[in-house]
C-alpha cells in the first residue's frame, strides 16, 4: 500500500464526480475518441471506448484515425425488461449501433458500434424507456445478477427485488450522468456527497450475484460477493454470503489468479444482506489495492488481509455478527431451455442465443422473433447469465400466439436443434472490439464447437452437458476458469486449455496444456473423450472424471 497510486486513481479523484472533461471531449471535432482521462470515466457511465481492430492498419494507411465507437451496457438488475422496454431497445439498436443486441454474461445487454456523436441520442432514447447505463462498467458495483431459473417463481420475485435494492443502494450518487448525457441542469452549490464511493470509488469492479440452489445459473462463486438464498418450504430464510470470487488473471503474472468466493456466514434477513454487501464494499474501498490494478479485486484484499480480519472488520462495520454458513447443494448451472411452467401457472420460454448475439441471420430471425413477441405485450423478458433470453410471465391462453411467432421466425427450431454442448458454451467478445483480446473467442467458438460435436458424436457423448467456455485473454469475462473445458487465448489462434471444474461451478479448473492451436486442441480432445467414454463411472461428469483420471 506504500507504493504510488495507479493513474486511474488520480483520474477518479480529479473527476469532479465522474464529470471530468466529458462534455468537452464530446465536442472535439477532430476525433471519434475521448480525451484520455475521459476514456476511463466513461466506463462509470456504462460505456467503453473501442475501436475496430480489424481496420486499424488499412485506416492508418488512409491517414484516417482508428475507427472508434462505443459500447453501451445497461444497468439491468436481475436482467428484466418489459415488452415496451424491449421494443425501445430494439429500435435504438436499429438506429445508431451495429444492430446486434448482445446479451452479456451478467444478465444485461450491450450495444456496440455507437459513434461518439450518437452517444447522447442513444442515452436519451434509453432514458425515455426508463433505462440507464449508470455504473454498468467502471470501479463500482456492477449489474447485480440474480437467479433466472424460472420454475421457482415465488422466491425468485423476492430475489429480484433484492437485486434491485442492492443496485439502488450501491449506485453512485453523482448526477454527472444526467448532466452530461441528458443535458440536465447542474445541481451546483452543494456538491453531492457519496458516503460509499467518496471521491475515490472502489479500487476495481465489484460484482454481486444472488443464487437460488440447486441451480447455480448465476455462477455465484465467481463474484466478489455471492448471496445464496436459503430456501425452506418455499420461503427464503436468509442468505449465505460468499466473498472474493473473480476470474481475472494475467499471463505470466503469478501474483494473479482466478478464485472462487469463500462462504463466510449467513444472515437471516434481506436488510442484513443489504448491509453486508454495502459494508463489504466499504472495506474493499478502504483496504483494496489502489496501486496495482491487476491486484485490486476484492479476492486479493481478502487473501492479503485474511478471512478472519475481513470478517471481524465486516461485523464491526455492520454492527451485528454473521451466523454459521448454511449447507447448500448446487447440482447444475444449466439454463432450462424451451417451455417451462412456473409455480403460479404462467409459462416461460427460454431460447438459445449463441454467445448472446441476438440478430437475424437467414432463417433464424431471433431479433425479429423477440420484437414481434414484445409487440403482443404478452411476455416479459429476462436474460440469463448464460447469455440466453427467457420470455416469461406468459398466461396459458397467450402461449399459442407466442409459440407461433417463435416458430415462424425459426427460434424454436434453433433452440431445439442446438446441441447440448453448444447450449452450455460461452465465449467472450474478444476480437474485433475488445482491446485486450489476444485471440478470437465469440467469432471462433461456434466453428470450434462444430468440430467438437463431431468428436463427441464419435464417442456417443452427444448428450453430455459438458461446459465449455472460451475467452480471448486471461481476463476471463466468460468465466472460463469455472468451465469443465476452458480455453483462454494466449496469442492469435492459440489457447491454454483448462480442465477439471465441476458442473455446478463450485470448483475451478486447472491448466492442462499451454498455447494449443486448433489441430492440437482437437487431437487432445479426441484422446480425452475416448478415455472418458471408455472409463467413466455412470453419471460421472467430464470435469470430475478429469480429476479422477489425473489429467490435471
Amino acid at each position: 500500500m506504500s507504493t504510488k497510486l495507479s493513474s486511474t486513481e488520480r483520474i477518479k479523484t480529479d473527476s469532479k464526480g465522474l464529470r471530468g472533461t466529458l462534455k468537452e471531449s464530446l465536442l472535439d471535432e477532430h476525433t471519434g475518441a475521448l480525451r484520455e482521462d475521459d476514456q476511463v470515466l466513461i466506463k462509470f457511465h456504462g460505456m467503453y471506448q473501442q475501436d475496430n481492430r480489424d481496420r486499424r492498419e488499412e485506416r492508418a494507411a488512409k491517414k484516417l484515425d482508428r475507427l472508434y465507437s462505443y459500447m453501451i451496457r445497461l444497468r439491468l438488475p436481475g436482467g428484466f425488461l418489459t415488452p415496451e422496454q424491449w421494443i425501445a431497445v430494439h429500435e435504438i439498436a436499429g438506429q445508431h449501433t451495429t444492430g446486434v443486441i448482445k446479451i452479456t454474461t451478467r444478465q444485461t445487454i450491450q450495444l456496440h458500434g455507437i459513434l461518439k456523436a450518437k452517444i447522447k441520442p442513444t442515452i436519451k432514447a434509453f432514458n425515455e424507456a426508463i433505462l440507464d447505463s449508470i455504473a454498468a462498467c467502471g470501479d463500482v458495483n456492477r449489474n447485480v445478477v440474480a437467479a433466472a431459473y424460472p420454475s421457482q417463481s415465488a422466491v425468485h420475485r423476492t430475489v429480484h427485488q433484492l437485486a434491485d435494492k442492492i443496485s439502488a443502494y450501491l449506485k453512485p450518487k453523482t448526477s454527472a450522468y444526467y448532466e452530461i448525457w441528458l443535458d440536465e441542469e447542474k445541481i451546483i452549490e452543494k456538491e453531492e456527497t457519496d458516503e460509499l464511493y467518496e471521491d475515490r470509488y472502489l479500487p476495481r469492479k465489484f460484482k454481486v450475484a444472488i443464487a437460488v440452489p440447486p441451480n447455480n445459473d448465476v455462477d455465484v462463486y465467481t463474484n466478489d460477493v455471492g448471496l445464496i438464498a436459503i430456501v425452506e418450504a418455499g420461503e427464503i430464510k436468509g442468505y449465505n454470503i460468499a466473498i472474493g470470487g473473480g476470474m481475472g488473471s494475467t499471463h505470466g503474472n503469478s501474483a494473479t489468479y482466478p478464485r472462487l468466493a469463500t462462504p463466510i456466514g449467513f444472515v437471516d434477513n434481506e436488510e442484513k444482506a443489504l448491509k453486508a454487501v454495502y459494508e463489504i464494499a466499504t472495506i474493499q474501498r478502504d483496504y483494496g489495492n489502489r496501486s496495482d490494478r491487476k491486484l485490486s479485486r476484492l479476492k486479493y484484499t481478502v487473501d492479503q488481509y485474511g478471512l478472519d480480519f475481513f470478517c471481524d472488520e465486516l461485523e464491526r462495520r455492520m454492527g451485528f455478527a454473521l451466523e454459521t454458513t448454511k449447507e447448500v447443494i448446487f447440482t447444475t448451472r444449466a439454463d432450462e431451455y424451451g417451455w417451462q411452467q412456473t409455480e403460479n401457472g404462467t409459462w416461460t420460454y427460454t431460447l438459445f442465443t449463441e454467445n448472446g448475439r441476438l440478430l437475424d441471420e437467414g432463417d433464424v430471425q431471433l431479433k425479429t422473433a423477440i420484437y414481434e413477441v414484445a409487440q403482443t405485450g404478452k411476455a416479459n423478458i429476462r436474460f440469463t447469465c448464460h447469455q440466453n433470453l427467457s420470455l416469461c410471465d406468459i398466461a396459458l391462453p397467450d402461449k399459442p400466439v407466442i409459440e407461433a411467432l417463435l416458430k415462424q421466425y425459426g427460434a424454436i427450431a434453433h433452440t431445439e436443434q442446438a446441441s447440448v454442448v453448444r447450449k452450455q458454451a460461452m465465449a467472450c467478445v474478444a476480437f474485433n472490439t475488445c482491446p485486450l483480446a489476444l485471440a478470437e473467442a465469440q467469432r471462433y467458438m461456434p466453428a470450434l464447437i462444430s468440430s467438437i460435436e463431431q468428436l463427441l458424436h464419435q464417442y456417443a457423448l452427444d448428450d453430455e452437458e459438458i461446459i465449455m467456455r472460451m475467452t480471448g485473454c486471461p481476463n476471463g469475462c466468460a468465466r472460463p476458469y469455472a468451465a469443465e473445458i476452458g480455453f483462454v487465448g494466449t496469442a492469435y489462434g492459440r489457447y491454454n486449455v483448462y480442465l477439471g471444474a465441476d458442473r455446478a461451478g463450485t470448483r475451478l479448473n486447472k491448466l492442462y496444456r499451454e498455447s494449443q492451436d486448433e489441430a492440437a486442441i482437437l487431437a487432445l480432445l479426441d484422446n480425452l473423450f475416448k478415455q472418458y467414454s471408455e472409463q467413466r463411472l455412470p453419471g460421472e461428469a467430464f470435469g470430475d472424471f478429469s480429476l479422477r483420471a489425473a489429467w490435471v
Partner: protein
C-alpha cells in the same frame, strides 16, 4: 449581325487555331477595320476619364484592374474601377474611355460574372458609336482557346460600332509587366488601333518559366476515403526533384482519354489505329491523336455545330461526347472522320492545388484529387482527368506548375483562418506544412468538412498531429451527412463567429479553397452575416469590411 453561314466559316477558321494564328488573324482583322473611318483620337497628355471594368473568376483581372487604376491615378487621370457584373451596360454610351480587363474560363467562355454583359452586347446590339475602348485579356496559353473571351469582347464592341483605341493584349499567366507596358502605351497616347505601334511580342505577354513541362513519377497513391464511402479522394505523391513551386500554386496536366473509348471510336468509324492523320499541320497516328490530344469526352456546342455541318444533320445545340454523337448521328461515309477530326479541339489542362510544401516535402509534389462522379441517364460516370489520375498508381505524369501569386501565405507572424472543405484542404496542407517547417509564429485555424466523419475525414491523422504539436490552434469540422440536418463548414463558422471576428480584428488572413458552387458563395454569405452580427453594423458595412480585407490582401480565395 453576322449570317450563320459566315459565322460557321469564321468558327471553322478560328476554332483550334494556335494563338499565334489568332494573333495574326486578329491583327489582320483590326487592320481591315482600321481602314474604316471610326478611328480613335486620343487627346495627348490630357487628364483622361477612364473606366476600368473587370470580369473575373479567380480575382486576377480584378487585382490587375486595381493596379492599373493606381498607376493611372498617379498620372493624374480620373480612374473608376467596376466589376462587369455590377456595371450597367446602358452606361456605356456615356463613357469617355472604357477599358475591359477580362479573363477566359471553361472552354474559352467569359467568367460567369461577365456573362450578362456579353449577352447584352450580343442580344441588344446597342449603338456604341462614340465609345472608345480597349480590352486587356487574361488567359493561359496552355488552354486551347487562349484568351478567347477577351478576343470575343473586343470583337463584340467593335461590331456595335465602338472605337478601339488600342489592340487587345492577350496575357498569359505571367502577365503583370506586359499589362503595365500595354497600359502605359495606351495612356501616353501612343495607342494605335491599327496595331502597328504595339510590337507583336508585346501583344502576347511572353511565356514565362511557368510554361515549362515537367515529368514526374507517382510514388504514392492512396484513396483517402474509407471503405463504405460513396466518394474516392486520392492522395497522390509525385517525385519532383528540383521543381520550384510555392504553397498556393497548382499543378496543371492534360489527361489521356481512356483506351477503350478511343478503340470504340475507331471501331465506330472503321478507322485503323495506326492510320496517319494530319491535325493542325502535323502528322501522327490517329490513335495517338485521339488518346493524347483531342477533347473527345465532352464536346462544346460549337464543335457539335461544326460536326452537324459535316454530317449535314440537324443536331440540337448541346454538349455531348464524341462517341454518342457518332452513334446517334452517324457519319455519311467513313472518310468524313478525318474531317471531323479537324473540328475537334485540343484537350484542356486540369489544375490541382498542390498539397505539399517545398520546405517540408523537398523534391515532392502532393495532390488531393477527388474522383469526379456524375450520372448520365442513370449510369455512373467519372470526370476525365480525375478518373485518369485515380488509375495512375505508378506512372510518370507530365505537368506544368501553375503559379498563383494571389494565394500565398501571410507574413510569418500573422494569423491564418483557412476554410477548406473537401479537396479545398489541399493548399492548406501545403500552407501548414510550410509554416511548420519555417517555424512561423502566427496562429492557424482550419475549417474542414465533408460527408461522413468515419469515412471522409481527409488527412485526419495529420490534422490530429498538427493539433497535438500546436501548429493548429483551432480546428473545426462539419460532416454533412452524419445527421438528418445537413451541417457544413459555414455552420461551424457561424457557431464560432465571435472568435472568428476577433481573429479578423487582430489582423488574421482569411482563405477559402474548394468548390465554387455552392460552398464558396455560402461561406461568403455566412462571413458577411458574422461580420454584421459581431460588429453590430449593417450588411453594407460588413460588405465594406470584407472588401477592405480583400484590398489589404487578407481575404483570399482559390475556388473552382
Amino acid at each position: 449581325m453576322i449570317t450563320t453561314e459566315r459565322n460557321t466559316v469564321l468558327q471553322q477558321l478560328v476554332s483550334g487555331a494556335s494563338h499565334d494564328e489568332l494573333v495574326w488573324i486578329s491583327g489582320y482583322l483590326s487592320g481591315l477595320l482600321g481602314q474604316q473611318p471610326n478611328r480613335a483620337v486620343l487627346p495627348h497628355s490630357a487628364s483622361l476619364n477612364i473606366t476600368l471594368a473587370y470580369g473575373t473568376e479567380t480575382g486576377n483581372s480584378k487585382a490587375l484592374a486595381h493596379k492599373l487604376a493606381a498607376l493611372g491615378k498617379r498620372q493624374k487621370h480620373k480612374m473608376k474601377v467596376v466589376a462587369l457584373d455590377q456595371y450597367k451596360p446602358t452606361q456605356l454610351a456615356g463613357e469617355a474611355l472604357f477599358i475591359a480587363v477580362v479573363s477566359t474560363q471553361g472552354d474559352g467562355d467569359p467568367p460567369i460574372a461577365a456573362q450578362r454583359f456579353f449577352d447584352y452586347l450580343i442580344q441588344e446590339q446597342p449603338d456604341l458609336a462614340g465609345l472608345q475602348f480597349a480590352v486587356l485579356a487574361l488567359g493561359d496559353s496552355s488552354y486551347p482557346r487562349f484568351c478567347q473571351a477577351g478576343i470575343d469582347l473586343d470583337q463584340l464592341l467593335r461590331q456595335n460600332k465602338a472605337t478601339r483605341v488600342q489592340k487587345p493584349l492577350l496575357c498569359d499567366t505571367d502577365y503583370e509587366s506586359a499589362a503595365i507596358a500595354w497600359f502605359d502605351q495606351l495612356l501616353t497616347g501612343l495607342g494605335d488601333p491599327d496595331g502597328q505601334s504595339v510590337p507583336p511580342m508585346l501583344a502576347n505577354a511572353p511565356a514565362g518559366p511557368a510554361k515549362k513541362v515537367y515529368a514526374g513519377g507517382i510514388t504514392r497513391h492512396i484513396n483517402l476515403n474509407d471503405r463504405g464511402s460513396d466518394k474516392a479522394t486520392y492522395h497522390i505523391e509525385i517525385a519532383a526533384p528540383g521543381i520550384a513551386y510555392q504553397p498556393g500554386d497548382a499543378l496543371a496536366l492534360v489527361p489521356e482519354n481512356p483506351a477503350t473509348l478511343v478503340e470504340d471510336l475507331l471501331a465506330l468509324t472503321g478507322t485503323y489505329a495506326t492510320q496517319e492523320v494530319s491535325y493542325r499541320g502535323q502528322q501522327r497516328p490517329v490513335y495517338t491523336l485521339l488518346q493524347k490530344e483531342l477533347n473527345i469526352s465532352w464536346l462544346p456546342e460549337r464543335v457539335v455545330a461544326a460536326y452537324a455541318a459535316i454530317v449535314q444533320q440537324e443536331i440540337p445545340e448541346t454538349k455531348i461526347g464524341l462517341k454518342d454523337l457518332l452513334k446517334i448521328y452517324p457519319l455519311k461515309a467513313p472518310a468524313q472522320f478525318e474531317e471531323v477530326l479537324q473540328v475537334l479541339e485540343p484537350m484542356a489542362p486540369r489544375q490541382y492545388s498542390i498539397a505539399s510544401s517545398p520546405a517540408a516535402h523537398p523534391g515532392e509534389i502532393h495532390l488531393t484529387v477527388a474522383l469526379d462522379t456524375f450520372s448520365v441517364a442513370g449510369e455512373v460516370r467519372h470526370g476525365l482527368c480525375s478518373h485518369y489520375l485515380s488509375l495512375q498508381e505508378d506512372s510518370v505524369l507530365s505537368f506544368r506548375i501553375h503559379t498563383n501569386n494571389r494565394f500565398r501565405l501571410p507574413p510569418e507572424n500573422k494569423d491564418m483562418i483557412m476554410i477548406g472543405p473537401g479537396t479545398g484542404i489541399a493548399p492548406f496542407r501545403a500552407f501548414l506544412n510550410e509554416r511548420d517547417a519555417d517555424g512561423a509564429i502566427g496562429r492557424n485555424w482550419l475549417f474542414f468538412g465533408d460527408r461522413n466523419f468515419t469515412t471522409d475525414f481527409l488527412y485526419q491523422t495529420e490534422i490530429q498531429s498538427w493539433l497535438e504539436t500546436g501548429l493548429l490552434s483551432r480546428f473545426n469540422a462539419a460532416f454533412s451527412r452524419d445527421q438528418e440536418e445537413k451541417i457544413y463548414v459555414q455552420h461551424r463558422m457561424e457557431e464560432h463567429g465571435a472568435e472568428l471576428y476577433k481573429w479578423l480584428g487582430e489582423g488574421a488572413y482569411l482563405y477559402i479553397c474548394g468548390a465554387r458552387v455552392p460552398m464558396a458563395a455560402d461561406v461568403e454569405a455566412t462571413l458577411l452575416r458574422i461580420i454584421a452580427r459581431e460588429s453590430g453594423e449593417s450588411t453594407e458595412a460588413a460588405q465594406q469590411f470584407l472588401e477592405q480585407l480583400e484590398t489589404e490582401g487578407r481575404y483570399l480565395k482559390d475556388v473552382y
